[in-house]
Symmetry: C2
Subunit: 429 residues, 2 copies
């Protein structure tokens, strides 16, 4: 066994970074045995140097992250700052100065993954980021390595714990969105500004990363259709229950039926209670993968939190250190397939549409005609009268999003349609 | 990109081997792109050369597997023969002649994993075997690599599809064991001689492999406690339902509470319906992993079958080929922890015990005294009278298997205990 320790620079020492530092200390012997050499925390870059950081030698603390990654003796830079800058510049500088990088930065990877991979490749260094998607759940390595001999057709997952907590709460208690969000905030599951979670930005970044790996194609954040879950109502959950479904915020990456293009999207959707994703509770994450040979796989676990995210970071750290000792690098970006990313209009799925209509004869015929004119085939219709008004619940067969959008626009123009109460996609059937 | 193809020798061309060959042909371009060089099927060793093998050049077929692995120009040997010999000799010979090995052979890995890893290490070659445990489910790579920076405390899984199909059928239809087995046989889920599955031998081999990887400790097949599921009855399922449980054949690998030893076992057990493993249906497999930092993870998918197993084999093939091109090897055996494997008597869990007793006053007191004398604390007791006889259902708190065994022996000696109808462990709470 080599005895010169591998030197690790930690960028960021918040919830995740402090756990990484803690485990590096408490599990030092195990890490040494598994890597084949000791790993040493060589520096910790923070914004607030005066904060007390238990278990970390104060001499290691610095506010000059750039100087730390430029030191030249650093083997691995662990980036857990988050956000685009300064993380991006620091990672690039790290490669230039001979370090490999382990990152948990989903926003950065989704936006600039290709450029960062290129920088890593140029300098012959590793860029690993298991922690960027679904926290502790091993997902990137299985997709990139275990399924490397298979053809992945769909990745569909619950990749945001905050929104799953809120939706699970609405489902189990009948609470409305705001009430469930308030509880999530009180319990620390939602941030003071929950926008990134509830509007689907966080999930969209993860969808971009997953689609890129699954389809060997560059998928940028802008390529991902995104719809938040702030407009999901208790009434939607009631409708879902009648369908034998629940509602989840899903990230869905799909290969088109002809294999020639891919799509990536994030939106709330109904899924049958019998689907494995339906029983994912609380802040847990799970990702369902469908491939040609393996069939249906699911990966389940905690999607966030200091210790779980640190577990993923440390798994990468061990791999990168082993590569370094062996003089090798792990698999880099694989984007050879370079499939076009189709717009949302091309996505084909089923829809659950609730309409408020006038309660008089002929309305159903009018509505059905509009669906037919747009080539959207109806699976079931349920009509409910209430005081001169009525509601129509239509569930369609599979149709393109463009056809459905056209249908809804035309429906809104009908005199007999008072309003479109909700449109929800139906997945996982 | 290098253009000299990597040469693959396939040992065995049955259900799995033929799928491996098929995917190597149909996905050749993808494999080339992902590996960085073409892979070429250089020879296929079979027992029955006259059988028609669609899509495989007859010139590649040979009955002389030894000559094939000795050729010297083979980069990777894919062993999907199964069984101990000739697989073991062929793998060893392959290493000696410069090849790396991908194997799906759980029995061999469980019995001789250490020796095979040593042979691989001695010759600087890779030995990969993702397909040996839980078919297509990425499990060995996540445990060995993704969780390499974490401390795994428990691995608990449904790792045999045949028995899960049978138990699921018993649960959902109320069928008895024999009836459910007959259906599994008719549908091709059970072999004509189902012993290896129903007696837990297959699951025990997988438990040995999983425990070894999870705990960085050599665990041999003989170290695994094994109890089949042929004695599970419809009455047991009825009892389980009353407890809010179902029954699964589980492989359980645990680190002792003090961290100083490990255990591995296979037996039927009751688990709560709320546990993620309870909803694993049909022939699916799933493995639940608990670790210090990551918390609770689950991996789910098809545990057997030609295409799923081939998916795992090909993922390994890609990794081994990449390693070969990069002049590196992947992680070998990690057994540095070398923890002692404790006997079954040391295992601590809960128990569900059904006793047939005389229906007269004082019986419960007698029975309770026996439990107390053996240090087994009772959680609940349910008593049911029927025509002068009665049944007592006792659910214990956590106790050692040795204490429980002593308790049951003493209970059998009581005049008032007519028989011990069933003893079932309760897991996952």
């Amino acid at each position: 066994m080599r005895t010169r320790p591998l030197k690790v620079a930690l960028l960021g020492c918040g919830v995740v970074g402090s756990e990484v530092a803690r485990i590096m200390t408490t599990h030092a012997d195990d890490l040494t045995a598994r890597i084949g050499a000791p790993v040493e925390l060589a520096g910790v870059a923070v914004r607030r140097p005066d904060r007390v950081r238990e278990g970390i030698d104060p001499a290691l603390i610095t506010t000059d992250a750039t100087a730390l990654v430029k030191r030249g003796d650093i083997d691995v830079v662990v980036e857990v700052i988050g956000g685009i800058e300064p993380a991006r510049s620091l990672i690039t500088t790290a490669f230039e100065h001979g370090a490999s990088v382990v990152s948990a930065n989903k926003a950065l990877l989704a936006q600039d993954g290709a450029a960062l991979h290129a920088a890593a490749g140029e300098h012959g260094k590793d860029l690993y980021y298991e922690a960027a998607v679904a926290g502790a759940i091993p997902l990137i390595r299985p997709l990139r390595e275990s399924l490397a001999g298979d053809k992945i057709n769909r990745v569909m997952g619950i990749v945001n714990g905050t929104t799953n907590f809120i939706l699970d709460k609405m489902d189990s208690t009948g609470a409305g969105y705001q009430e469930a969000l308030d509880e999530a905030t009180a319990l620390g599951y939602a941030e003071a500004d929950p926008t990134a979670d509830v509007e689907g930005f966080d999930a969209a970044a993860k969808a971009a990363i997953l689609a890129g790996i699954a389809f060997h194609t560059r998928v940028r954040l802008d390529d991902v259709y995104r719809e938040g879950m702030t407009e999901v109502t208790a009434a939607d959950f009631a409708s879902a229950k009648e369908m034998g479904c629940t509602i989840k915020l899903l990230a869905i990456c799909e290969r088109a039926a002809d294999g020639a293009s891919v799509t990536a999207r994030v939106h709330p959707a109904m899924i049958p209670l019998s689907h494995p994703l339906a029983s994912v509770r609380g802040a847990y994450n799970a990702v369902f993968v469908e491939s040609d040979a393996a069939g249906q796989l699911m990966f389940y676990g905690p999607g966030a939190g200091g210790a779980p995210t640190a577990s993923a970071v440390l798994g990468d750290l061990v791999a990168v250190c082993r590569n370094r000792i062996g003089g090798a690098t792990g698999p880099g970006e694989s984007a050879y397939a370079a499939l076009p990313v189709s717009p949302m209009g091309d996505v084909v799925t089923r829809y659950h549409i609730s309409l408020d209509v006038a309660d008089k004869p002929g309305v159903l015929a009018q509505v059905a005609t509009v669906f037919a004119e747009h080539g959207v085939s109806i699976d079931t219709v349920r009509q409910q009268g209430k005081d001169g008004e009525a509601s129509l619940v239509v569930v369609t067969h599979r149709a393109s999003d463009a056809a459905l959008t056209g249908t809804v626009e035309a429906l809104r123009k009908l005199d007999t349609v008072r309003g479109v109460a909700s449109i929800m996609r139906v997945e996982g059937e």
